[in-house]
């Protein structure tokens, strides 16, 4: 029997999740929900508990307390059938160095063969998968000889070879250069376009969260301090837009709730004298800084670390 939920059942449902190492509470009541087909970014400063959260959801780490449901099951007790519906993109280092690309993907795929359903045919045919991640030219290359970027594409291929309904990506682009990062983002977009895969990724990179995610969760101080689309988050904090201009050689800056109206007024009053006009909505970065700072305001001891992390 398949444990398939209905379309409106959440893929991930986390309630009051707590994790304590010794006397330190890393997660202090985390709540969030992911729906089918959503791409969620768990964003936060280093040490905020992102990796701990994702490892609990993957079933790789036992939680201290709280309710967690992933694809309808508790990850702490999820069986092999549950495992077959998940994909985990791990950061490879030098594992399986003697294997050839196609050989390893084909082999790992066979573990999923028993878990096909009427909707999902598992595993992903190897040659098709190689095409999707752009490794067709390296199919017979030893994994130890792949470049860094090729290896990461292989990591993604391994993560999705079982055609997961839910895919986890933990800090997927750490150590990437600009080109490799863009290539990776394109790959994630392709995945979510083709299948109805739900994706949860962690990152401390705002830009990445904004580019990839439908919804951003900001984790700070062991709690989710914000949850919404990039636009919603940006609006939520200030709701004001910054307007800059020069007149008679002087620079002016003004924050306005109704930027359009303000600029109309400005031109009506000064006409041709206005130059170098800039209208800049509050960026996600501003929002992020504000939210993290607010959440840490009551935690003087921790705040220093967070500011240091955010300031990087």
């Amino acid at each position: 029997m398949e444990a398939f939920g209905t379309a409106d059942e959440p893929v991930i449902d986390v309630r009051d999740l707590r994790m304590r190492y010794g006397t330190k509470d890393v997660l202090d009541g985390v709540n969030f929900v992911a729906r089918r087909g959503e791409v969620l970014a768990l964003l936060g400063p280093n040490g905020a508990g992102k990796t701990t959260t994702i490892e609990i959801l993957e079933g790789f780490r036992m939680r201290s307390a709280g309710e967690v449901r992933v694809l309808g099951d508790d990850p702490a007790t999820g069986g092999e059938r549950w495992r077959a519906r998940l994909g985990v993109v791990l950061q490879s280092w030098r594992d399986h160095g003697k294997w050839r690309v196609r050989e390893l993907l084909g082999h790992l795929g066979t573990y999923y063969a028993d878990y096909s359903t009427s909707q999902i045919n598992r595993p992903w045919p190897v040659d098709e998968l190689l095409e999707v991640v752009g490794l067709t030219g390296q199919r017979d290359t030893r994994i130890g000889r792949l470049s860094g970027g090729q290896r990461r594409r292989l990591d993604v291929a391994i993560g999705i070879v079982g055609r997961p309904e839910l895919l986890f990506l933990d800090e997927p682009t750490v150590g990437f250069d600009v080109a490799a990062r863009r290539e990776f983002h394109d790959l994630v977009h392709r995945l979510t376009d083709v299948d109805d895969t739900t994706v949860l990724l962690t990152t401390h990179d705002l830009d990445e969260a904004e580019k990839l995610a439908d919804r951003i969760l900001i984790l700070a101080g062991g709690r989710i301090v914000a949850d919404g689309s990039p636009d919603e988050l940006a609006r939520r904090v200030a709701g004001e837009t910054e307007v800059r201009w020069t007149r008679d050689g002087s620079r002016y800056v003004h924050s306005a709730a109704d930027a359009t109206g303000f600029v109309r007024e400005l031109f009506a009053q000064y006409g041709e004298d206005i130059a170098d006009l800039e209208v800049r909505p509050t960026s996600l970065e501003d929002t992020y800084m504000t939210l993290v700072r607010e959440s840490e305001a009551g935690r003087a001891a921790d705040a220093v670390d967070v500011f240091a992390a955010v300031a990087r």
């Binding site: 490892e55 077959a84 950061q91 003697k98 790992l108 573990y111 028993d114």
Partner: protein
């Protein structure tokens, strides 16, 4: 198809692929050839010496013990080493991330190490046969090999897995090997255990290496040679018993220890090890 039969099928396939890789990779070939070179050199220099009190070639009588010792080393040290390195580099975590992956991984390792042990055995035995005379393998000897080799692997591989689960650092493999060499020294492989003080003889007989050497000698040497062993006998039943006890102990311990070890594997555990490895050996 059931999960168990999938794990078995994929595990055997995995072991087969890795076994083939071990036969086609330069560094791995060396791990096959090195012991067989040692065997060859050892019997070569001992070929004209006699076992004290007999007219039998010392080289010929040392070879079977050497074969037994290497089976034990493969089962213990190779398994431990594979497990430690696979844990460090994330191979094990990958296995954990796929359904029935851990079972497949373990079955694969059993196939791989079994294959390595058998190929090693043949590579050590055959060339040495051209150097020394006197070894014989009659029907009884074949029968002995048929139970001794599998039992030797079952008695050592689970223990090797336990060792590999307990030690977290590839450097501790050195410690394991050091202990092994100590055990070999008191197991009557390169010279008779009867030459050791009584308490060392007792200690040597606790561990599987002595019994595997003795069992191999009983398979390859004429029965008259039993006279120079402890108690003047091959003590087949005792050997079977001691190896059997180690097998039971290993099979009881290994699943518990392996499960505990596997439970602790996570992306951050592997990342931490990578950082540690990077800091001691910049790449």
């Amino acid at each position: 198809m059931s999960a168990a039969s999938t794990a078995l099928r994929t595990g055997v396939a995995r072991g087969g692929i890795e076994f083939r890789q071990s036969l086609t990779t330069g560094l791995d070939l060396w791990t096959y050839l090195f012991p067989s070179l040692v065997a060859l050199i050892t019997v070569f220099f001992m070929r004209d010496a006699r076992v004290p009190g007999t007219e039998f070639s010392l080289g010929a009588s040392t070879l079977p013990g050497f074969l037994g010792m290497n089976l034990a080393l493969t089962g213990l040290a190779t398994v431990a080493q594979l497990l430690v390195t696979d844990r460090e580099d994330g191979t094990l975590l990958r296995a954990k991330a796929v359904p029935t992956g851990m079972s497949g991984y373990l079955i694969g390792k059993i196939v791989l190490v079994g294959g390595m042990a058998l190929v090693g055995f043949v590579l050590q035995l055959v060339p040495a046969l051209f150097v020394v005379d006197g070894l014989q393998l009659d029907a009884n000897g074949w029968l002995t090999l048929c139970w001794l080799i599998p039992l030797a692997l079952v008695a050592t591989m689970p223990l090797g897995a336990v060792l590999g689960s307990i030690f977290d650092n590839p450097r501790s493999i050195g410690l394991i090997m050091f202990t092994m060499f100590g055990l070999i020294a008191i197991s009557g492989i390169f010279y008779p255990i009867t030459a050791l003080p009584g308490w060392l003889q007792g200690l040597g007989q606790v561990f599987p290496i002595y019994w595997m050497g003795l069992g191999m000698r009983s398979a390859f040497l004429p029965d008259a040679m039993a006279a120079v062993e402890l108690g003047g006998s091959w003590r087949t039943l005792e050997g079977f018993g001691v190896l059997g006890l180690w097998a039971v102990l290993g099979l009881l311990l290994a699943p518990v220890v392996l499960r505990r070890m596997a439970r602790r594997e996570s992306g951050s555990a592997v990342a931490a090890r990578r950082e540690k490895a990077m800091s001691r050996a910049p790449m």
